[in-house]
Symmetry: C2
Subunit: 602 residues, 2 copies
C-alpha cells in the first residue's frame, strides 16, 4: 500500500469502480466502499439531492439507477493528497446525459482501499452547456442581415412579451439573493424565467433591514455565481453595498425581474401540467402560466410575533426585528428586546450605541460564536484570503463543503467548537457571570449544525456580547414577557421594565407557511416541513433525512421547488436546481430516485 502515491491509490479505486459500473456489477462496485460509507449525489446519479448511507443503500441505488445513468470516464483531477490516513481526491466523470465532478475519501482497509465518502455532482448537461468561454456568442453578427435587431431591441422585446405573449418556463417567487442567483443560472442556460419581487428594486430586501447590518459571513463565503466581488470588498459587506451589488447584478445578468410585484394565488393545473399564478404587478393583475414554480423567499417564513397579553395597550413603538427602523428615533429612551439571537444582539448594540437604555430578554440558551474565532477556526481553511492563496477559491470550497455527508458532519465540527470554548473562555465566563444562557448545540457541534438543523439559536459575535457581558446592554435571562402594559412590560419573574420601544427579535416561522397561503394548506401539507435534517436534536425532530428537507430538489408537489439559504448555499445549490429545471425544460427524462417522504407537516 505504502509504495503507491495517493494519486495512484485514488486512480486505482476509480478504475476499479468504473470497471464494475461499466459491467453492471453493482455488488462489485458496492464492495469498493467501506462498511461505514456515504455516497452523496447532487443530481447526476439520482435526479435528486440525496445521500446513500451504507452499502445496502448504495447498492439499492445502483440497482435502480445504473442502467439509466451510464456513468463513464472517471478521471482523477489534480493530485490526490493524504492526511490522517485518509486519501482525498477530486475527479471528473460523465453520465449518459451530463458531465460531473466528484470527490472521494479513501481509507486503507485489510481488503485494500475502500471509499469512506463519495460525492458526485452534475456540472452540465451535454448539448446544453452554458455559452461561456470558447462557446460564448459573437454578439455582433458579422455580415449584413436585412432587418437586424440590436441587442437592446431584443431585450426590450423580451421584456415586453415575456409573461404576456409568451409564458416563462420558470417563475421564481422572491427576488432576494436566492431568486436572483437562480435566475442568473437559468438565464445562462436559456430557460425563460421571470422573478417576481414585492420590493421595487433588486437589493431592497437588504436595504430595508436595520441600518447597521453587515453580512455576518465573510466575503469569501458570499460570492454570487459568475461575477465574484472585486478583491477590495470588505470582509463583512454592509447591507446597502450588498443591495447595490444585487441590483447591478440583476441588470447586467439580464434577469427578467419584476419589482413591485406580489404573488397572490398559485394553482396547479394537473391537466395542463402547468401553474396558474396570479400576480399584482405595480397595481396590474397579470396571470402567469409557468411550468415550474420556485419559492425563493428566504430560509424563513413569516415573522414570528408572539401574542402577549396587553400588547394592544402599549403606548410606545413595537415591531418585529424585520421591521426595526434603526436606533436614531429612540435616543434617550428605554427599549426592551425580546430574543437573544443574531438580530436581537445587533439591534441591542445599535440601540446602546445611540444612547438608548436597552434590556435584552433571553428566553432560552443561545450559541455565541465570536466572529474572529469563527473565521479562523471554522471557515478559514475554505473561505479566507489564505485559502484563496493556497488555491481553494469558493468554487472548490463549496465542493469540499458538500463532500461531507450530513450524518457525520457534526464530528467535523465538534473539535472546532471545543477549541473555541478554550480560546474564548474569558468572554464565555463573563457572559455566564452576567447570567447569559450559553450553549454550543445539543452535541457541541456549534453554529453551522444549528443553522442546518433548526436555522436559529445563535449569534455571530461582532461586539454585542461584550456589551452584554459588561452590563451596557442589560440582560434578563430565564425570562419572557408575560404581559405588556401601556409604558412597561412585566416579565415572567415579576420584574417590570419601563419601555418606550419593544422589539420582537423572535425569529421566523417555517417556510411552508408561504405555500399554505399562496397555494393551499393541502399542498403545504403534502410538501411538509422545509429545512432541517431530522437529527432529533432541539427543534429538529427525526426521523433522520440525510439532506435538508425539500431544499433544491423535487418535492412531493409536482413542479414545485424551494430555493434559499445563505449566500453560500444559494450560490452552490442554485447550480443543481438550475440543471434540474433545464433538464425538464429540454424534455429530458428525469426519473427521481427515492423522493423524500414527508414526516412533518410544518
Amino acid at each position: 500500500m505504502s509504495d503507491k502515491t495517493p494519486s495512484q491509490r485514488a486512480q486505482d479505486w476509480l478504475s476499479g469502480f468504473e470497471n464494475a459500473l461499466s459491467q453492471g456489477q453493482t455488488a462489485q462496485a458496492t464492495a469498493l466502499f467501506d462498511t461505514d460509507c456515504y455516497w452523496r449525489d447532487l443530481v447526476s446519479f439520482t435526479w435528486n439531492i440525496c445521500t446513500q448511507e451504507g452499502q445496502n443503500a448504495i447498492e439499492a441505488m445502483l440497482q435502480a439507477r445504473l442502467a439509466d445513468v451510464q456513468p463513464s470516464n472517471f478521471a482523477l483531477e489534480g493530485e490526490a493528497t493524504e492526511a490522517d490516513g485518509v486519501v482525498d481526491a477530486w475527479f471528473t466523470f460523465e453520465t449518459g446525459v451530463s458531465r460531473g465532478r466528484g470527490h472521494l475519501r479513501l481509507k486503507a482497509t485489510a481488503q485494500g482501499d475502500r471509499a469512506w465518502t463519495l460525492l458526485t455532482t452534475m456540472t452540465e448537461l451535454k448539448g446544453f452547456e452554458e455559452k461561456k468561454g470558447s462557446r460564448r456568442i459573437k454578439g455582433a453578427e458579422h455580415g449584413a442581415q436585412v432587418g437586424r435587431k440590436s441587442w437592446l431591441e431584443r431585450r426590450q422585446d423580451e421584456e415586453a412579451r415575456l409573461g404576456y405573449d409568451e409564458q416563462p418556463h420558470v417563475l421564481i417567487v422572491g427576488g432576494g439573493q436566492g431568486g436572483i442567483m437562480l435566475a442568473a443560472r437559468l438565464r445562462r442556460l436559456g430557460v425563460p424565467t421571470i422573478v417576481v419581487e414585492r420590493n421595487e428594486k433588486a437589493g431592497d430586501s437588504w436595504r430595508k433591514r436595520y441600518k447597521t447590518l453587515c453580512l455576518h459571513d465573510p466575503v469569501w463565503y458570499d460570492h454570487l455565481p459568475y461575477m465574484p466581488f472585486p478583491d477590495d470588498w470588505p470582509v463583512f459587506a454592509p447591507k446597502d453595498k450588498v443591495g447595490d451589488w444585487l441590483e447591478m447584478y440583476t441588470k447586467v445578468m439580464e434577469i427578467n425581474y419584476w419589482g413591485s410585484t406580489t404573488a397572490k394565488k398559485a394553482t396547479f393545473n394537473e391537466a395542463k401540467g402547468e401553474w396558474e399564478v396570479v400576480v399584482d404587478r405595480a397595481g396590474q393583475e397579470v396571470v402567469l402560466r409557468p411550468k415550474e414554480l420556485v419559492f425563493a423567499l428566504g430560509v424563513s417564513g413569516y415573522a414570528n410575533v408572539p401574542k402577549i397579553a396587553g400588547a394592544d395597550s402599549f403606548l410606545g413603538d413595537q415591531h418585529h426585528s424585520s421591521k426595526h427602523p434603526g436606533p436614531e428615533a429612540y435616543k434617550g429612551k428605554k427599549a426592551v428586546v425580546l430574543g437573544s439571537n443574531n438580530s436581537a444582539h445587533d439591534i441591542c448594540a445599535a440601540l446602546w450605541e445611540n444612547g438608548v437604555d436597552v434590556t435584552m430578554v433571553q428566553r432560552s440558551s443561545t450559541h455565541i460564536a465570536p466572529s474572529e474565532s469563527l473565521m479562523e477556526l471554522a471557515l478559514g481553511g475554505l473561505y479566507s484570503e489564505e485559502a484563496v492563496q493556497s488555491g481553494i477559491d469558493h468554487h472548490k470550497a463549496d465542493l469540499v463543503f458538500a463532500s461531507v455527508p450530513y450524518q457525520i458532519m457534526h464530528t467535523f465540527h465538534i473539535p472546532v467548537y471545543d477549541e473555541m470554548k478554550k480560546r474564548d473562555a474569558d468572554l464565555y465566563g463573563r457572559l455566564e457571570k452576567a447570567g447569559f444562557m450559553l450553549d454550543f448545540g445539543d452535541d457541541g457541534s456549534g453554529l453551522f449544525m444549528k443553522y442546518l438543523r433548526r436555522g436559529s439559536g445563535y449569534y455571530i459575535d461582532v461586539g454585542a456580547s461584550e456589551l452584554v457581558a459588561n452590563g451596557s446592554v442589560k440582560l434578563k435571562s430565564h425570562n419572557n414577557i408575560e404581559r405588556i402594559n401601556p409604558k412597561s412590560v412585566t416579565l415572567t419573574d415579576g420584574t417590570e421594565l419601563e419601555a418606550d420601544l419593544l422589539v420582537y427579535a423572535t425569529g421566523y416561522g417555517s417556510m411552508n407557511h408561504w405555500l399554505a397561503d399562496l397555494i393551499s394548506p393541502e399542498v403545504a401539507d403534502r410538501v411538509g416541513k422545509v429545512w432541517g435534517l431530522g437529527s432529533g436534536t432541539t427543534k429538529d425532530p427525526g426521523p433522520w433525512e440525510g439532506e435538508l428537507r425539500n431544499m433544491w430538489k423535487p418535492t412531493q408537489q409536482k413542479q414545485l421547488w424551494i430555493h434559499g439559504g445563505n449566500l453560500h448555499q444559494s450560490r452552490h445549490y442554485s447550480q443543481f436546481l438550475s440543471l434540474q429545471l433545464k433538464a425538464r425544460y429540454e424534455g429530458l427524462d428525469t426519473p427521481v430516485y427515492k423522493p423524500a417522504p414527508v414526516h412533518h407537516l410544518r
Copy 2:
C-alpha cells in the same frame, strides 16, 4: 551560453544589472544593453512615460535618476523562455518608494547576453497600497462604537460634501469609459475624485451612438480594471450592454460621478497651485477647486463637419456620424455617407439592411482589416480564449503589449498584415475591383500602428466590406462632395447623387481643441498636439517622440493630464496615471525626467 537555461541567463543578467545599479555604475549598467536597445519606463524610474532609445539615452537617464530611484530586489518572476534567439523574462523589482514589474528581452552577443528591450512599470507605492486581498477593510467594525455611522450614511455624507464643503484632489472631465476607469483606480487609492459628465448617466456615451454599434475589439481586450466581464460576455459586446455595464460599474465602484454636468471654464491659479473649474451641474453652477485636472474626453476632439457649399440649402437630414440616430427613419430613401472608415462602414451597412439606397463617398484610401483575421492573426496570441487558457490573461497581455518599444513596433506588425493580405486576398481583390481605395498603412504595418499614429484610416470589417464589394452599398471613390443641393449632392467628378440623408462620417479633430475651449488657446498651445508618435507617416508628422504625445503623463501645463484611448489603453494606462496622481496627493517627490517638448500646436 547554450548550457544555461533561459531563466539562468535572465537571472544572471538581472543580477549583473542590479549589481551595477546598486554601486551607481551607470556605464557598467548601460554596457549590459545591446547596441540596438530600448528601455521603456512607465513611471517607476522617470515619473514619466518614456522610452530611452540606445545606450546614450539610457546612460543619461540613469545618471539623472539612479541616485533618487534606488532600484533593488530584481527577481525573476516565473520561468524565462527563449524563441528565435531572444530570451523573454518577467521580473519584479523595487525602487525607494515603489514596487514594480518588468519585462526583459535578451540577445546573445559576442560579449555575452545583452538586453534588447527592457520594460519597467510601477505597480504600487510603498505604504499606499490598495486595500485589497489580505489588506481589505473589515467593513463591519466589530465592537461597540457610540455614534457609529453606517456605510450608507458615510457614502451619502461624502456625496453631499465633496465638491461643496470639501474639494476633490482630482477632477476628471469626461465620464466615459476612460474617466470611469481612472476614477475607479483613484477610489481604490483613496484619492478624493469627482468625475463630471454632460450625459445624465454613466454609459450614455455608448447608449447614444448608432444602434447597431458593437465593440470592434473582442471582449478579452476590453475588460475594465478590478471587475472582469463574466465569461459568457459576447465576443463583441453591443453598445447598450456596455453602457449598462459602465453604469453599474460606476455605482459599485463607489465613484463620485456627477452626471448632467458640463464643465464651462477652467483656470489654473498659479499662486494657490490649484484649478478653478466652473461647472453646470443640472442647472446649478458649482465652482470646483481640484489640485489636478484630467481631461478624459476620448481619443478624439470635436466632430469634424466639413463646410460644403450649399449645405444650408439641403432639404433632407444631414448630421455627423456621432449624431446619427440609426437607419429606421430612412427606409426606402436615398443616403450619401461621406467617409470610409469604421463609422462610415457601420452606418452604410445598417442603412442597407433597412432598405435604404446608400452610397459611400471615399475621399482617401482606407485600411480594411477583416475582424476574423485581425482576431486570429493580430490579437489572438494575447487577447483570446486560447490566450486565457494558456495563462495569458489581460493583465499579462497588457504588459506584453507594453513591452514592445514604439520605435520597433511596426516590425512586429508588418508580417501580420502580410499574412492578412494573403488570407483575405479574395475580398481585397473584389474591393479593388469595385473601385475601393485600399491601404495597409505607409509601411504596411496595418491597423494598430495607424491607430497610434493618426487615430484614423481604417475599418475593422464585420460585414460591410462585402456589401461594398458586391455593390449593395454603392461606392464613389476618388471623390468628395463638391456641393450640396436641396435634394442631391454633386461630387468632384461631376456625378450628382439624389439624397434624402447625408451623413458626415468624417472623424474628429484633435483632443486639444477641448483645452483651447475650456481653458485657453495659450494653454492648448503650451500642451501641444495630443496623440501620435511623430513617425513621419501620413497625418503623424515628426520629429520622433517615442511615446504617444501627452497621454497619461505630465504635460507642459502643470497639474493638467490627458487620459483616454480604447478600452485596453484606458485600462492599462489608468494604472500609471493613477499612481502619478496618488504620489502627488501624498506629497511625494515626483521629479519628471525629460518632459516631452512640444513640436506641434494642434
